[in-house]
């Protein structure tokens, strides 16, 4: 029991640290390839957090889509625009001090809400047989968003090809 508690806490801290380290690398590196690799580290950390939260299906989808598709897309765009060969100096624009101030302020507000609000945490739920339930829910309760998002993916597919062609 105690080893179980310890292991679940260690997992959260390791994965959380990985996500935060990857995010910091992604926003601070001027070399875009390093930023993209930091982003991949952040995505893997977030997938680990999903596994800690017992949402395994979302974790696997995160790895498949974010690490497998979106990161590769970003790397393609970096290579095609040769962003890493241009621009001497830092990667920040002229308003980065204001941006840092605003993000810090927002972090203070959000952490105050997270720590001092009274969340009605209910008892631990039964988390068995989730993937069949997700499948059933997608086709019954959430049928309309499901169909709408397939239409949206079609539009995004065609739109991306039309925008990026010669």
């Amino acid at each position: 029991m105690t080893t179980d508690l310890f292991l679940s806490n260690v997992g959260f801290f390791v994965m959380g640290l990985m996500a935060l380290a990857g995010a910091l690398i992604a926003v601070s590196q001027q070399n875009l390839l390093r930023a993209a690799l930091g982003l991949i580290l952040a995505f893997l950390g977030v997938a680990g957090i999903y596994f800690m939260l017992e949402a395994e299906f979302v974790g696997v989808v995160q790895i498949l889509i974010y690490v497998g598709a979106i990161s590769v897309l970003i790397l393609f765009a970096v290579m095609l625009t040769r962003g890493l060969m241009r621009g001497a100096g830092s990667g920040h624009n002229s308003q980065w001090i204001g941006a840092a101030f605003v993000s810090l302020l927002l972090f203070l507000i959000l952490s105050a809400v997270a720590l001092f609000a009274h969340w009605n945490v209910t008892a631990t739920k039964v988390t068995t047989d989730l993937v069949p339930k997700i499948g059933v829910d997608l086709l019954t309760t959430y049928l309309l968003p499901f169909e709408a998002i397939s239409l949206l993916l079609l539009a995004a597919l065609v739109g991306a090809i039309v925008i990026a062609r010669e």
Binding site: F43, I65, I74, S103, L110, S111
Partner: protein, 106 residues
């Protein structure tokens, strides 16, 4: 079990790091990287609330996970379109520096 506020803190930190990346970077692709970080932070919040709080309506028992799945799908579509736009701008202006792309077509 880790308390809920730890997950919310982690999501807030990720969101603010992504916000700094989206507001304070020069390269358009770096801005898109910041946006992806913000969407991931939101997803952590959704799944954490799904795990720790059971909704009153039993039909919505999996709403947090389904919402997170839709956000992941939308992020993929938006990244594809955004990067196509960056490539198109690079082809016509030969730069991806957002400070240089400040004139509409004349």
């Amino acid at each position: 079990m880790v308390p809920l506020s730890f997950y919310l803190l982690l999501a807030a930190a990720l969101f603010c790091i992504g916000l700094f990346g989206a507001l304070g970077r020069r390269n358009a692709i770096a801005i898109l990287i910041g946006i992806e970080l913000m969407l991931n932070a939101v997803n952590i919040n959704l799944v954490a609330f799904w795990r720790y709080i059971v909704p009153a309506n039993p039909q919505m028992a999996l709403a947090g996970q389904i919402f997170a799945l839709f956000v992941i799908t939308l992020a993929a579509a938006e990244a594809a379109i955004g990067l196509a736009l960056v490539i198109a701008i690079y082809r016509s202006r030969d730069t991806v520096n957002v400070e240089d792309v400040n004139l509409m077509k004349w």
